[in-house]
């Protein structure tokens, strides 16, 4: 019947010492992975798209397809 006295104090501190670094690590890793897997490729895709983008040419093509209501296709 003589058990050792259980730990009574410092329980939260012990748990935090273990779990806080893990929590921060997971959060930062997730953020970094998102940055390099999603946002950087997206920025590159937009940069490439607009590098040789001719707005007038695209507009003419769309106009010929007949999707605008303010401009008819050329020759009507």
């Amino acid at each position: 019947m003589s058990l050792p006295k259980p730990v009574m104090r410092g329980l939260l501190a012990k748990r935090l010492k273990f779990h806080l670094p893990i929590a921060f690590g997971v959060a930062i890793t997730t953020a970094l992975m998102y940055k390099f897997a999603v946002t950087e490729p997206r920025k590159k895709a937009y940069a490439n798209f607009y590098k040789n983008y001719d707005a007038v040419k695209e507009f003419k093509a769309m106009r010929e397809a007949g999707i605008f209501e303010s401009v008819r296709p050329a020759g009507k």
Partner: protein
């Protein structure tokens, strides 16, 4: 005062067994469900009442002994005192069971049953879909989306090859 006068008018025989008149007050019988219940919970380790309410003579004498020095109690007596106050030990109350398997099985079974109901409903209850689901209509929709250059950077129109009029490989 009024209650006792009113009751003496009606007659002592009319007083129900559950009402006892003492002086000027009427005292109602204490119902079982109004008392604190006993339960084993990890969150509330000390319930309001002891587990065993009616003590045997042996247990009563043990309780008397408890009033003295606890060092004089043997280990069996300490255990007996514990079992008077509590039903399960923490180890006993915290042990897991296999109930979760039944629960998960029931969930999956009823999900499957719901799926059958939904299938039946789709066949026998719902009417036809709108004309906008016709294949020809869908083709025209698709062409219009490409003409409008929907999502030309990363999404829809980005995958269409406008020069060769086909999907990009």
């Amino acid at each position: 005062m009024l209650a006792s006068r009113a009751l003496s008018l009606i007659g002592k025989r009319a007083i129900s067994a559950s009402v006892c008149v003492r002086g000027a007050h009427g005292v109602a019988k204490v119902e079982d469900y109004t008392l604190h219940p006993y339960f084993d919970r990890r969150e509330t380790p000390l319930p309001e009442v002891a587990y065993v309410q009616q003590l045997t003579a042996e247990q009563k004498s043990l309780k008397e002994k408890e009033k003295g020095s606890w060092a004089a109690l043997s280990n069996e007596e300490k255990l007996a005192l514990y079992r008077i106050s509590f039903k399960d030990s923490f180890a006993e109350m915290n042990q897991g069971s296999e109930e979760w398997k039944t629960v998960v099985g029931g969930i999956l079974f009823f999900l499957g049953f719901t799926g059958l109901i939904v299938l039946w409903q789709r066949k026998y209850v719902y009417g036809p879909v709108p004309h906008t689901f016709d294949p020809l209509y869908k083709e025209q929709e698709l062409q219009r989306m490409l003409d409008m250059r929907i999502n030309p950077v990363e999404g829809f129109s980005a995958k269409w090859d406008y020069e060769n009029k086909q999907w990009k490989k």
